[in-house]
Amino acid sequence: MTASVTSPLFPHRHLLGIEGLSARDITILLDMAEDAIEVSRQVEKKKSTLRGRTQINLFFEASTRTQASFELAGKRLGADVMNMSVASSSIKKGETLIDTAMTLNAMRPDLIVVRHHAAGAVHLLARKVDCSVINAGDGAHEHPTQALLDALTIRRNKGRIHGLVVAICGDILHSRVARSNIILLNALGAAVRVIGPSTLLPPGIERMGVEVFTDMKKGLTGADIVMMLRLQRERMNGSFVPSVKEYFRYFGLDAEKLAYAMPGALVMHPGPMNRGVEIASDVADGAQSLIREQVEMGVALRMAVLEALASHLPNG
């Protein structure tokens, strides 16, 4: 890719959420990611855009795939990447978070990638540091790079996002992935549906630009894209839904329910999957599944984000 694509075209210092991005901003990132895919598919998966830059992955919440994806993205762009996993139990919330931010800031990083269990924590941190901050997930608020990589995956398979019917299914209440996707897909002109038991739907969700369904078969009818969400184990046994058995029966994506979607509808999942809870194995591994492709797109998309933000760094 050419250096000219990046620079001032993306007019933001941080990536804290999809909220606040224009359709044009999103499209720029997706276009840049297309180029990054090519880099990752070469033998020498290396560029020098971020040479000399320091990237810190600050994870207050355990993560394997997102952290690995950001690490690879930074390294493929030539940055020095440091991973910091901070056990959330040892953190005493607000004050210590700011102290951590100030300490790191003093080490003069260029980019900080942050995941935190509390909604809003990444925004708080971003106000206290001089570098660019990327939200890698804050509580049930936003996970912008996941939504962007999902959009990239959809666009590459369907050729467009505008006009598609996208059904997001499962635990919407606790999902930052759902919130970021709802905002992004609306911005690009998709028709968004959410499907789940009412206990897993946040109040007022219908005013976020989605059509709400509590019946999976009705919600899937006519859908082009089916996005499944992970159901956390502690929410399965009578608190939000009665049991795994009942959840899978009514909300687990199996071949029978998928048949209600459009022929050739594509299946996505941000991972990690609970097979037999929200998705049946044959569907997860089936011909309509994009789940593995999403992981590849994740690295490319994150490379694009790092490059776009780096263009605003001092001496960028």
């Binding site: 038991p197 206990t199 009578g238 608190s239 939000f240 839904v241 009665p242 058995k245 009942e246």
Partner: protein, 431 residues
């Protein structure tokens, strides 16, 4: 069960609480459903039909009881599905909803399935299990409402237990709304009940017994209705017992909430004074209240603020009842005597016959989504033939329940069920 042969009832006083009409006529049942209602049906009698000459007696829909404790599985020495169903048949009750407070509790689709099959094989009336709302009736985690409903659960309730955790209830209400399930809740705050064993007031103080304030019921009922307002969905208060609760229910209904409530036959026909010298068969939950409360219940029933009357049938044996009042179990049997007890109100002029029958058949059937509870062509042929005036003295030896804890022992009653018909089959016949 095989299909019953056709049944023709001639010369009956046909009373249909669904339409509020009565007239003289005949009724023909074929294949378990009402095939024709009219006059001169004897001319159209199908071959092999059983003919019953009603001789002018009343023919009404069989009663639908939304609340009975049975004991199977786990307490078969107190009551089985078979014995409960015989008591029900003798009392004119043709559909009974069984409470999930069994051992094991009815909180798993396999248990519902077992009970449905067991009732089919051993009971003479329709018995439908209600399923637990929370696992193990523990008040913490909701049960598999969707799967239990598919298995045949009538509705969801923790039976004699009240759920104190509002968050649990909120989520259960929310989830139940999605699957279209009816939630029935017994409103009696266990903390406010505390050591209480009867209505709080002068009488309890004189007897030296701890009282149960009316607020144990009204606070929980108010809370539940606020949650219903928040979540939507269908809610039924199992039993109200005091005047204050009527005001709470009236407000919710006037707001248009999908809310109904029941009253136990005991709260309608007895008061705390009937406890007399510590009669343990009158220790009930909710407790018998003051006569003013009883009158308020009757008036609310007449006005339609109370929707249904239930037997709250609860068989207890010597071990659980022949102990000091404060230490005995709650409950009285009622399946066999509910109609006769209710007719006392009619004979006393407190309530109309049609109102009583509606609250005992049509309304509960409607709330449960069942087609019975009416005299209409196509409706199930669940019928009772009765003489509402015939006097009798209740002899405990005539009770079909395995347990004999009736508050009406030796009572002079009026109104006798001569014949009970379920799905076109005669299951009780005193002739």
């Amino acid at each position: 069960m095989s299909i019953a042969p056709p049944l023709l009832v001639l010369d009956a006083r046909l009373v249909d609480p669904a339409t509020g009409t009565e007239r003289m006529g005949d009724l023909l049942a074929v294949d378990g459903v009402i095939a024709a209602i009219g006059t001169g049906l004897s001319g159209a009698c199908p071959a092999g039909a059983r003919i019953v000459d009603a001789r002018g007696r009343m023919l009404a829909p069989g009663l639908v009881d939304m609340r009975a404790f049975v004991g199977e599985p786990g307490a078969e020495h107190r009551e089985t599905l078979a014995s409960a169903s015989r008591a029900a048949a003798a009392g004119g009750v043709t559909t009974v909803v069984c409470m999930p407070d069994t051992n094991p509790p009815i909180d798993d689709p396999a248990v519902v399935d077992y009970l449905v099959r067991r009732a089919r094989d051993t009971a003479v009336v329709r018995l439908i299990p209600a399923a637990a709302l929370t696992k193990g009736l523990a008040g913490r985690e909701m049960t598999e409402l969707g799967l239990l409903r598919e298995a045949g659960a009538a509705y969801f309730t923790d039976g004699a237990k009240s759920i104190t955790n509002a968050q649990v209830l909120r989520r259960a209400f929310t989830y139940a709304r999605d699957v279209g399930a009816l939630i029935v809740h017994h409103c009696e705050d266990p903390d406010l009940v505390g050591d209480g064993v009867m209505n709080e007031g002068e009488l309890a103080s004189r007897l030296g017994l701890h009282g149960i304030p009316r607020e144990a019921e009204t606070i929980m009922l108010e809370r539940d209705l606020r949650l219903v307002r928040l979540t939507g969905g269908r809610y039924h208060a199992a039993m109200v017992s005091c005047a204050d609760s009527i005001a709470v229910i009236a407000r919710a209904k006037s707001e248009g909430l999908d809310v109904t409530c029941g009253v136990s036959i005991n709260s309608l026909t007895l008061n705390e004074n009937d406890i007399g010298p510590y009669r343990t068969f009158l220790k009930l939950s909710p407790p018998l209240r003051h006569e003013d409360d009883r009158i308020a219940m009757v008036e609310a029933l007449a006005e339609g603020l109370i929707d249904v009357v239930v037997s709250d049938h609860n068989p207890q044996d010597v071990e659980t009842k022949r102990v000091p009042f404060a230490e005995c179990a709650d409950g009285a049997i009622g399946l066999q005597t509910m109609l006769a007890a209710g007719l006392r109100l009619v004979h006393n002029g407190e309530i109309g016959l049609m109102t009583l029958l509606r609250a005992l058949s049509t309304r509960p059937a409607d709330i449960l989504g069942l087609p019975q509870g009416r005299l209409a062509v196509g409706a199930p042929a669940d019928l009772i033939l009765l003489d509402p005036d015939e006097p009798f003295v209740l002899d405990v030896a005539d009770l079909h329940s395995k347990s004999k804890n009736t508050p009406l022992e030796g009572a002079r009653l009026q109104g006798r069920v001569h014949m009970t018909i379920v799905e076109g089959r005669v299951v009780h016949d005193i002739a």
